[in-house]
């Protein structure tokens, strides 16, 4: 492991911050893209904590390699997405169904627009977001949605484009994450 990465794992305070970030990310990813909530077990009886700690062990053991020149957190987040995808793709997962979630959310495919999608479908997504009562009632939230619709790349770019404090942009994003699953469900009906 590259020296700049190994320190993040070997120093307890850095390791603890890393794993907390990864757990928050994992839980949110499962909620937004898999319709999961904490009342439900994941395939193979796992929970989000297992996903993070299992991956941590594999990375430290050398079973999963990190690119020395790349940032650590995005790399591991990519690995987590891959682990979740593999978890749901396993044969035992096909019997797992989250009550209340759509069939697509429950099982095979993540509910994501990051696949080749018709321009119309992407426009529909943003239209539904803008029309959602929570967004319609909050001008700042609407501006954040519009910024991303126009291709903004990240909260700093959004903050600069629309003149909002970056912390406020992050808050708006977290609010959007809460309503996003319902938007995706509406889009697929």
């Amino acid at each position: 492991m590259a020296p700049e990465h190994s320190e993040t794992f070997s120093k307890p305070e850095k390791r603890h911050e890393l794993v907390l970030r990864l757990l928050v990310f994992t839980r949110k990813y499962l909620r937004v893209h898999r319709g999961w909530n904490s009342d439900r077990m994941l395939p193979q009886g796992k929970d989000p904590q297992d996903i993070v700690t299992d991956l941590l062990e594999k990375i430290v053991a050398g079973d999963r390699a990190l690119n020395a020149g790349d940032e650590l957190l995005p790399q591991i987040m990519g690995m987590i997405k891959s682990e979740i995808s593999n978890l749901f793709a396993s044969s035992s997962a096909k019997q797992v169904s989250f009550v209340g979630a759509t069939d697509k959310q429950s099982n095979h495919e993540p509910v994501t627009m990051a696949t080749p999608a018709a321009a119309a479908e992407v426009n529909d997504l943003f239209d539904l977001l803008l029309a959602h009562p929570v967004v319609a009632a909050d001008t700042d939230l609407g501006m954040v949605v519009l910024a991303y619709k126009e291709g903004a790349d990240g909260p700093s770019a959004v903050a600069k484009a629309i003149g909002l404090d970056v912390k406020k942009v992050y808050e708006c994003q977290r609010n959007l994450a809460k309503i996003y699953p319902s938007i995706k469900n509406a889009l697929r009906k």
């Binding site: 928050v24 700690t53 430290v60 050398g62 627009m113 990051a114 700042d140 996003y180």
Partner: protein, 156 residues
């Protein structure tokens, strides 16, 4: 110049495009950037992350202990893999430094030992042989000594 707040800006695409005309509007990238943003909590401090998880019912202390255990297990696995690799290298290297020692006579072993003292097989072998009195060593002792030097050199 962008507006100070969203309050005085109409939700109008054309107006917005004038502010940020260079933004990439590729649809797949647009959707991906939005979804990445929904998962982005990069602004939260360690304390805020902890508070977020606790508010969701996570026992953060227990999770951090579990993470520490996973880290320790990963370290043990890594050390074991490295030790196995070193052992394998040493086994593969047997015979590579001094040839096959098993069938050499005592006088041939002694010749190798004296050559090692003179530095023919490198500084490491020379250092290890320098303070040893080969005359007092039996054939099997001499053979074992040379084998050990070979293994040590191979593992480095």
């Amino acid at each position: 110049m962008p507006a100070k707040s969203g309050e005085d800006l109409p939700l109008d695409q054309k107006c917005f495009k004038k502010i940020a005309p260079t933004m990439d509007t590729n649809d797949n990238q647009t959707a991906r950037k939005l979804e990445d943003a929904l998962l982005d909590d990069g602004d939260l401090s360690f304390a805020e992350l902890r508070k977020t998880l606790e508010s969701e019912g996570v026992d953060v202390g227990k999770f951090l202990s579990k993470a520490d255990s996973a880290y320790a297990a990963g370290c043990r696995a890594q050390f074991k893999a490295q030790a196995n690799a070193a052992k394998l290298r040493a086994e593969l290297a047997q015979g590579s430094m001094f040839g096959v020692l098993e069938f050499k006579s005592r006088s041939e072993l002694l010749d190798l030992f004296l050559a090692a003292v003179k530095g023919k097989f490198g500084g490491e072998a020379m250092a290890r042989c320098r303070n040893k009195t080969a005359d007092m060593m039996s054939e099997s002792e001499l053979r074992s000594w040379l084998e050990d030097i070979e293994k040590i050199s191979a593992s480095k």
